[in-house]
Symmetry: D2
Subunit: 443 residues, 4 copies
């Protein structure tokens, strides 16, 4: 009931009262100006890129939060207040659920996806696991028509407009742990140009996290290009580690993209993964039998619990647990790491990203399907003779020759750049306890 | 309908006509004389034991078959005919399903477990996965009473009599692969003294298999002690590799054995495993958090897909896929091998079998339970704060000082004893392709 | 004595009689015209480059042979005859030793490095292990002056001319195994632009080898651009897999390049390695203590038998034996793999090549030095507080925008390009027995 | 000169003045009464044995010290004073070098091996690396005769008397780290019944160490059976973890024990190792080619840097660095772990100790020999076609049926027996950082 009201507010009242800044309200993300894109330049002697905002910098900031965490809620409220007082021209976007839950505690208007009436079968406000690749939440054209009528926003569901988050977000902030970062990435899993992402850690610092919450003001200023100690005034500059993603598509035995009710990504383009895509026998007792092809040539047939295809970023996640090497995110590559293979001789592989790696469920597999997961969330089921194909996304140069990389990868804003600029070595030691020294308990 | 008939036959007609040897019929295993036990002696300079049958050797032979395999069916029929013609005093026992399916093709009477009327809730003729530890199929006393009334066999369900297979089988033969051997072992998973087991491989030789079907006559003669080339007449002697098993119990947080509808092993004693017991997150997305104790002392808390506790026999099965060492079955030990642990420093462990190893599902585990499997079959679910405890079964000396080992382990009959008597080194090379040489394609 | 004669012949008689093609003789490599450089273009959808010879193609071919192998000798003679009869404008270059030993069996004149009188301390005709990075064999200026006087070739030792092989070789052929390829690479270890290399395998095919000797005519035609089936006439085109190398320098604690009698690479520039550089305790009983820095930041201190820094090419060599991942040669990276580290948590690393990785021998190391080897040959000894620094060589674009890569890496000519063009997947299966299937001895 | 004097003193003056307790002097170990043997009993529910001294307990205590460590020297002096004041009937034995160096600082007489005149070729006071298996230091009969004449101790060199340490030591104390314990073990490497050993750690606690020096008084009382809290008066009881050793012999291709000047263990029986025996290519560039046999049957041929055969005790030493499993010392087994094998499929093995494992240097090995090391010290060189054979020492029952184990293994005295009695789990966590948790830097 409360829900119905709040929905109505968005698309009726909300729009009428949107002039007053101090009003607590939820507005539609579609009311925001379209996003702006920073340019990126390669830095000499560094794994990092230099991002530069077009003046006067980002306006639409998406705050992605870990759910059900009191300290994260408190931090979000604190941050909204900071923005309200210091950057009144910056708009805060939230996912629908935190938007509704935080509404009362935030003084300024906040933005979110338009919600839909309860009777609507619209998939992306309901039923879908939060981190399922966002493609599954983009409605089909048919849905679009229904919805358009209901909401008065006919255009947002047209194919050429795409996901409102993709269209409106200048900068992503995450509040939580690695899981929250992966979730934020999943919101842009079909986007080619992901906005810069700055991640704040609450509690403990994850491996992908960038900075502690206590440093959020300085970090935020850096991310919006207002904290360059070497430049007077506004520089718009910020350091970026671009984390390459992998593209994943699912195909049936005839080579057609898989169609059918069961596959959530049905009828849609490839999704991009930040950590990895994996297939796994799941609760099935028998080992999966998977054929692996590299650039169309059969590499091997593996009998195993499963198989991981990981980015360098994901090399410290599931692939690591399965015995894979640790690969620096600046090494443009993908990792092929088996999960408990029935073999003495399946050494993990590191492959180039410009050839397609294919995993096909053999018709000798004992059960009729295996699970496919993306970044740790179940995505669907791969049937016998179906295959997933994986390759690197292209890291494209920008329009202007001297600049590169406005497309491809997740541009992770780096704050702490003393010593080793990308923080990766520090993470190996501090978090993964890499080569942790044998005990020397001095007496 | 056919089933009802055949059931009736067993307990009515069948008993009336049991005098004629040539009659095709299924009889109750309870009609057989009780089993006899061979004695075992340690052989010098060998990993093997010498088994000796009391004169005149085994009479009740249980034939365990891989299901749904035409060649296995054919071999069983051929074997029955061989027995009928050459060893008329030997009785063949089958599991219920193959007994009914083979009945028509076998000339002599065959024996199986009594079946029960269809309306009976009796668990071991229905609903239960074939290889679920047999304990789960042993009915409770209450069931026993109902059933006794229906079948006229009141005693078989009394606690002090136990499983009919345990009470009647002198010698086990398996026809199939490693899975069939594991299944045969599961039929004796609550038995302390497992009968000698001889395994025939159909198709390809598995790692646990002993001999090819084509050699079955010679092998069978060896197993019943009639083929000792060094001894004239009947020696009763046969070579045995004793494969130690592990005992597994499930306990709740108060240290009580787990009770409750969901746990199949409920109300029962420990089961013995041949390969391993494992816990696994299964289809749950989040890593399992498991506390490990050795002899009551906390060893570690692991965050992983799962955890394996394996016998040396199982060291070439799931534990191998998870990175465990290969341990010779004569090394009295258990292996603790994590499945995809989120750690750089969980090296697989080999522990003595005379201390209890405990796996407790941490109350920090994100889901409320994980799966427990025994020898590759799902056994039940371990809830938060519950634990499984594992230790080696005792390998007991027999009554008479000079002899040892009539209790404990699975006595696997060994046929090919030239060179390396236990065949283990041969299996590493021939089957696991251990240290397979790098390619030397001569030109 | 014989040696003195043969030397004289090169620089006196030899030069006088160099007009007659049919004369058996050894000539100085310096008599040859300077080398020509192919251009390289990136091929779409392929890991390979397209090399194109400037018309009319390569003239100076260096034949590097495995020593002391009768079949290799025979093949070299056969090849010389083939060249003499079919490509009379092509000149064959050999290393000094095979040149002298084959002289009698080859009809046409052959070319080699000028030899020097016995009394000369000149390092590269004596004392030096054949595969020591060639830098150690390049004489200092002082030596150059002495030698120039003796030989009448004043210019070859001047710094700006460099190694005669580098200056004269258009195309390298190797005859032997992987060791011969590594040796050929070592002859160009200080060269920035290595000539294309085509490797023939005698006996068995090595992992780096390209084709069997029996196919040498077709392969050679391909390498010189005369065998393009898609183009009429001379195309000059050939397929190339560029294998990136690593640059290695040795520095003392003050950051100066190491000087001193003991270090063979003294006073010289960096060398390039094809497989790996490693440090190892060698015959010392105590573990080496090595500090590792990545881009100037301390990664860790390792206590181990040694440490390997490998190219992707070398990932199937020593690094593989030490537990490293297998990395495709097209992945621009370096591998850091410890040798028997006293640690549970040193997972092998894959790093970008554009930062310097440093291995410093800790002053807590128990012995005063450890061994440094390059591509499997001892190079020198690293003393306490000294360090080796490693980074990738630059793969430079050529002068003309559309072309790239005339500098950097070893351009390995690829012949068999059906299916998977680079042959790498085939090598994993055929030679390394990657994921070799568990035994299925059908009965 | 000083040395000659001190030697004389031992065998002339020393013997005359040996009545006065307070005199600083070095006496001959041969003056001591012969050793006494504790009995050992298996404890229920424990990996430990119960040792029991015959009343009134041990008298001859051998103190083995880390050399060149000031704090160890100080501790030894302090301990001698404690003994002098509290246990005047206990005699302290030292190795020759510390005996001479500590002589001045110890009030009571101390005992050591008799030294020999400088001109003597007697091997065990000179030339020999301290931890070379002691067998190499036991003189031949011929030496014995010469020496007997010189020293007036004719009997000590006779074969049937053997090593004076073996004959006289009741209890071993070590002061240092793991290396000191290994050294102490090496002094008894040819002894069948090693005395109980109590190890004190100075500085940091090693993996094999038992207790910190600060607890030495309590620990010593425990070791001599005077600190049983459950028993009034003298119980003689102490806890023991028996660490099994491996026996190693070297044989030529004809199966004869190797003879010849080069092999230090020449003409002698097998030695026992505490950690491992390994063969390694050492400073040779080429991989070693080693044939491995288990119980006479060929397991495999390995091409590797080397091969380790380790005890469970040694499973946390070199074998661990080479990827071996961690095996609890109570698991009676040996580990076969390759060092950097050129193979994808050489999984480490755990084998029973009652079969012989053989490593034979293949005649295809490229160099003529490889290095053999015992417990980290070079022992000799294994030539092509020679082999080392390894098997477990027998853990023999004592004379009296109720007692077992007076022979075999190293009886390590355990002090801290709360919780997990053998301290092994604690060592995995505290020292090896087993499964060290990933970073949770709380903010
Ligand atoms: N056995 C294993 O190791 C498994 C690992 N995962 C990993 O979990 C990821 C999903 O993470 P959550 O949603 O947080 O699930 P989660 O809450 O189950 O946590 C997984 C853990 O992995 C860490 N993590 C995630 N990405 C990482 C990275 N790139 N580098 C280092 N650590 C990383 C997280 O901090 C967390 O500690 C998946 O992408 C997959 O890589 C998933 C299943 C099994
Ligand atoms: N990722 C993995 O490696 C997994 C392995 N398993 C293993 O499968 C076993 C059950 O076997 P099946 O019922 O036949 O299932 P299955 O039909 O799925 O086959 C498992 C494979 O393991 C082999 N195997 C079984 N026991 C073995 C042993 N002791 N040594 C060497 N190979 C052995 C079988 O021959 C078969 O090739 C379980 O006990 C478990 O050890 C089960 C799940 C996953
Ligand atoms: N324990 C080990 O695995 C060791 C390996 N090596 C490797 O040997 C290489 C030198 O080779 P050789 O002079 O032929 O010495 P070698 O005659 O001792 O042979 C080494 C083996 O490695 C193979 N090999 C060489 N490079 C390879 C590559 N990139 N990929 C796959 N296999 C390769 C060779 O075919 C040969 O079988 C070194 O660069 C080093 O990588 C050197 C010492 C120890
Ligand atoms: N790459 C490696 O890991 C190598 C290891 N070693 C090991 O060193 C041992 C000799 O030790 P040291 O004379 O002290 O030489 P060392 O002074 O070179 O130290 C070797 C290290 O191993 C430790 N260690 C020794 N035995 C151990 C055991 N059983 N469990 C756990 N840690 C142990 C010592 O505390 C020390 O930290 C050899 O028996 C061998 O096992 C020897 C050479 C290479």
């Amino acid at each position: 009931m409360k829900r119905l009201l709040s929905q109505r507010r968005i698309f009726s009242e909300a729009r009428q009262f949107s002039t007053s800044r101090s009003l607590q309200e939820i507005r539609s993300i579609l009311d925001l100006p379209d996003r702006i894109y920073p340019a990126y330049r390669r830095l000499l002697d560094s794994k990092l890129l230099l991002g530069v905002w077009p003046d006067p910098g980002p306006k639409n900031v998406l705050l992605v939060m870990k759910s059900n965490a009191a300290n994260v809620r408190a931090a979000a409220t604190e941050f909204a207040q900071y923005i309200n007082e210091n950057h009144p021209d910056i708009n805060l976007i939230f996912e629908r659920e935190p938007a509704e839950s935080l509404e009362k505690e935030i003084a300024q208007p906040i933005y979110t996806l338009p919600s839909l009436p309860d009777f609507s079968p619209f998939p992306f406000t309901k039923e879908t696991d939060g981190r399922t690749p966002v493609s599954s939440r983009t409605p089909s054209k048919a849905h679009g028509d229904i919805v358009a009528k209901q909401t008065g926003h006919p255009d947002i569901f047209a194919e050429d407009i795409g996901d409102p988050f993709h269209r409106k977000t200048d900068l992503i902030l995450t509040l939580g742990g690695d899981g929250t970062i992966l979730h934020a990435a999943s919101l842009f899993s079909t986007a080619k140009a992901v906005p810069p992402m700055l991640s704040f850690s609450m509690g403990s610092l994850g491996f992908l996290g960038e900075c502690h919450w206590k440093d959020h003001v300085k970090a935020f200023l850096t991310a919006i290009g207002k904290d360059n100690p070497n430049r007077k005034g506004y520089s718009g500059e910020f350091g970026v580690l671009r984390r390459g993603r992998l593209k994943v598509g699912v195909f049936d035995k005839t080579g057609q993209r898989v169609a059918g009710e069961d596959w959530p990504g049905n009828n849609l383009g490839d999704v991009h993964v930040m950590n990895e895509v994996n297939i796994h026998r799941g609760a099935k007792p028998h080992l999966a039998i998977v054929e692996v092809f590299v650039a169309g040539r059969k590499l091997t047939e593996t009998v195993a619990d499963g198989m991981i295809i990981s980015t360098p970023t994901g090399s410290t996640a599931y692939s690591l647990s399965s015995g894979g090497a640790i690969v620096h995110p600046a090494v443009n590559s993908l990792l092929l790491t088996p999960i408990c293979p029935r073999s003495l001789s399946f050494r993990p592989l590191v492959l180039p990203t410009d050839c397609i790696v294919t995993l096909r469920l053999s018709n000798r597999n004992r059960s009729s399907e295996v699970e496919v997961s993306v970044d740790g969330k179940k995505w669907g089921e791969l049937k016998v003779n179906e295959e997933i194909r994986v390759w690197g996304e292209q890291l494209r140069n920008g329009r202007d020759g001297g600049w590169e990389g406005w497309e491809g990868g997740i541009p992770c804003v780096k704050i702490n750049s003393e010593g080793e600029s990308d923080g990766w070595v520090g993470g190996l030691n501090g978090l993964l306890k890499f080569n942790y020294p044998f005990g020397e308990e001095e007496l």
